[in-house]
Symmetry: C2
Subunit: 147 residues, 2 copies
DNA sequence: ATATCCACTTGCAAAATGAAAGAGGATTTG
DNA sequence: CAAATCCTCTTTCATTTTGCAAGTGGATAT
C-alpha cells in the first residue's frame, strides 16, 4: 500500500509539472513553440485547435510569467510580437518527446510514422539535438533579420 | 518559419497526449496510481491536493474509458473499488519521470533529492524497472489476498 | 438492528471558457 | 498624407465547468 520512503517527496515534482502541463492550452502552445516553429500571437491563434483569443492572451501571460516564454517585439515588424522558448521550455523536450512516443503507441489514428518512436528510442540524444537545432534555426531566422 | 516536412504530423501525437495530460486532475490521478500506490476512491479523494468528489468520479470514468485504469471491486472488501493502472498507463512512466526530472531542475522548492534526476539520467531503464516492480507489488498485495 | 464505511450523485453558487465585437497602435496602400 | 489593414490584445456576455456541501444506497462492522 505504501511505497516505502518515496512517498514523502514524490508528490511535489509532478504537482509542479501539473501546474503547467495540466492545462490543455499551455500544453499545445508549448508544442507549437518547441516543435512547430510557431512564434507569434497569430501563429498560435491560427493553429487548427482553434484557441480563442482571450484564452490565448491569458496563457501566453501565464507562460511568460512561468519563464517558459520570452516575449519580444518582432525585429521584422515592430507591431508584431514573438514568443521565444526559454531554456526552461527547451528542457521540456525530453518529456514532450516521450509523450509523443506514448501517443504513437496508443493512438490508433496517429499521424506519426512508426520510425519516429524507434528513432527516439534508439538514440534520444540525437533526436533531441535535432529539435534543438530546429528551434535555434527558427529563432535565428527571426532575430538574424534585425541587423 | 516552417520547420520542413515535420509540420504535417507533429501536431497529432501531442494533441492526443494533451487529451489526457492536459487536465490537472487526470494528471494527478495518474501520479497517484503510478507513483504513490493509491488505488481506491478514498485514496484519491484524500490526496493532499483536495479533489472534490464529483470531479473525481468524472475523471475516474474518463480514465477508465480511455483504458488507463482498470476498475475492479476490491477482493479484500466487496464494497470497495480498486482502480489499477493498465499497461497503457504504465507506459506513461517514462514521460512522467522525464517531467519529474524537469521539475527538480526548475522548481526551487522541490522535495525531490538531486540524486533522483541523476539516477534517472544515468540509467533510465533501471529506474523504470524499479517503478514497475513497485506497481506490481502494490497490485499483487491487493489481488493476492483474493485466494 | 443500528451505525458506519464507501463509492458515488445531486443541487447550486462561483469561476473558467468560448464566441464575437472592439480598441488602439503600427504598417501598408493609394 | 489619408484611409484601410494588420496585429496584439481587451471587453462583454452566454455557456460550460468547477468546487462545495449535502444526500443516496448498498455493504460492512458493532
Amino acid at each position: 500500500m505504501k511505497p516505502a520512503q518515496i512517498t514523502q517527496w514524490y508528490g511535489c515534482p509532478t504537482r509542479y509539472a501539473a501546474g503547467i502541463f495540466g492545462d490543455k492550452w499551455c500544453f499545445l502552445i508549448l508544442r507549437d513553440v518547441l516543435l512547430l516553429g510557431r512564434r507569434t500571437y497569430s501563429d498560435f491563434l491560427n493553429a487548427p485547435e482553434g484557441i480563442s483569443t482571450n484564452i490565448l492572451a491569458n496563457r501566453l501571460a501565464k507562460l511568460e510569467e512561468a519563464k517558459m516564454l520570452d516575449r519580444q517585439t518582432d525585429p521584422r515588424k515592430a507591431s508584431r510580437v514573438c514568443y521565444f522558448p526559454t531554456r526552461k521550455a527547451r528542457d521540456v523536450l525530453p518529456a514532450l518527446l516521450s509523450m509523443m512516443v506514448w501517443s504513437t503507441l496508443y493512438d490508433e489514428g496517429t499521424e506519426a510514422p512508426a520510425s519516429f518512436a524507434e528513432a527516439y528510442r534508439s538514440d534520444p540524444n540525437k533526436t533531441l539535438a535535432w529539435y534543438e537545432a530546429e528551434i535555434d534555426r527558427v529563432d535565428a531566422e527571426i532575430l538574424g533579420s534585425a541587423r
